[in-house]
């Protein structure tokens, strides 16, 4: 059984313009959480009904704490950003499937952009072997040091060229021509699509974490679908329950 949890906030701080890091005590979630899964945060503001899905950035099995990193983009995240250490936030989770980690794979390539970077932190912790990470940002990079700290080699691209190369993750890829046995990616749709095309050409298996507007977050309402292949045909799968992580081969791109 699962329940709606009341989580005590330990920290909620702006780590870059409009980007917040929130830490709360969530032993029930920490026990089960996997990289690539997400949790539903409730805004607790009358007129905003739906929960906000936010990826798990880091779990700390020892302290029972969980870290999320979120961008303030609208009313819900705005409200969450005003919550203070000591306040309680309602949540359910962990939700979704998460990344699958294959112990045999030794050469990992992570490609993430913007607010798609946070889930990669927890992932890096669980990968064994060589980990190369390409991160793209509009301007202010986040979590670069954290990811390096877990032993990955990190390259950064920014659109304004303020940090790393000027450009996006595809420019990094074209520059480095990386080799890899497995790709993990999360970020804006155009980036994921480019990663999918590139990895397909190179025949490297890729796991892509998708985003879609949600209601229930647990697979019951069918509002969060993504087109996927099915034999000769296609079907709509649920991003919240069958995803958010999909194999590149499954996904049919549309807009």
């Amino acid at each position: 059984m699962m329940e709606k949890l009341q989580l005590k906030i330990r920290m909620n701080e702006e780590i870059a313009p409009k980007i917040y890091k929130i830490i709360f005590l969530a032993t029930e979630i920490v026990k089960k959480a996997k990289a690539g899964q997400f949790i539903n945060l409730y805004c607790n503001k009358g007129e905003l009904l739906l929960p906000r899905p936010i990826s798990i950035c880091e779990v700390n099995k020892k302290t029972g704490e969980i870290t999320l990193v979120y961008a303030v983009v609208g009313k819900g995240t705005e409200i969450i950003s005003t919550m203070k250490s000591g306040d309680t936030i309602e949540a359910i989770g962990p939700l979704g499937n998460g990344f699958s980690v294959d112990e045999e794979v030794k050469q990992h390539l992570i490609i993430a952009g913007g607010i798609g970077v946070p889930p990669m932190v927890e992932l890096v912790k669980f990968l064994k072997g060589n980990i190369t990470v390409y991160l793209g940002f509009r301007c202010n990079p986040i979590l670069v040091e954290t990811i390096k700290q877990y032993g990955a080699t990190v390259y950064v691209a920014t659109e304004d060229g303020s940090v790393g190369i000027k450009g996006n993750v595809m420019d990094l890829i074209n520059q480095h021509n990386p080799v890899a046995e497995m790709i993990y990616s999360c970020g804006p749709k155009p980036m994921l699509k480019a990663v999918a095309e590139w990895s397909e050409k190179l025949k490297i298996p890729a796991q892509l974490s998708l985003e879609e507007r949600m209601a229930c977050g647990i697979g019951a309402c069918l509002v969060c679908t993504c087109k996927t292949k099915k034999e000769q045909d296609w079907e709509n799968k649920r991003v919240c329950k069958d995803g958010p992580v999909f194999w590149r081969d499954e996904v049919i791109w549309h807009d």
Partner: protein, 303 residues
Amino acid sequence: MTKVNMKVNISGVELKNPVMTASGTFGSGIEYGEFVDLNRLGAVVVKGIANTSWKGNASPRVAETFGGMLNSVGLQNPGVDEFIQKDIPFLRKYDTKIIVNIAGKTVEEYCEVVKKLATADIDLLELNISCPNVKEGGVSFGTDAKMVEYVTKQVKRVSKQPLIVKLTPNVTDIVEIAKGAEAGGADGLSLINTLLGMAIDIHKRKPVLANVVGGLSGPAIKPVAIRMVYQVAKAVGLPIIGMGGIMTGEDAIEFIQAGATGVAVGTANFINPTATMDVLEGIGKYMNQYGVEKISDIRGIIA
């Protein structure tokens, strides 16, 4: 809290309590089964089922609005065969009634689903007549009283379980529509389905929903739902399942006092996964507080 008698009878089927799930918001129960004990529900109303699998609309299919939400799922479902094979056996493990919501684009499609369900182990049928009628240019079946009477009559002829007709609120005169269903032989009515709405992303300058328009649900629509349940309960003798914005036991009592026999919880599940249980407990609390012995003592009590 003393134990209250919450039994209700809907079209000949006895439910242990009036609390059910609103079609399309609770899947076939599996997912919310992680949060609530399905044995405690009066009934599970499953998502709309068609004769064959439907893919539904493009994404995004949801938009949050003030006190409500828009959805444009477009009745995605696996088709009646897979439903019978997978979902009924799952639900039958629980001590709750099964109500199957039926979708169709033609009268023939509705009938086909109902025929296939004739031998299935389910308790009640709920006919969703908000679906677009493809033979009539896509206008919803539920917006014309004559059409409602006709489709109800046709489905009734082939149905083995009692038939509840679920009405759309997007009509000028809900009473006239309800009377159409009654004339067609409906055993009960569900109301309301969603109000047709739309939201625009002013920054992207396009509709939030890929489908442009969608169905508005949630507490925002409760006053419209209460009004319609009240009007229909006064005019028609059939049992009513009331829904539209029920979040608490007090909301449910409001529907019951307006004339509903059963109540269904929809959008509230998304806001609070144990909403059905909270509604159930809230009804019990009210009955205890006011010494209401059985639900029928307060049903339709509003003059």
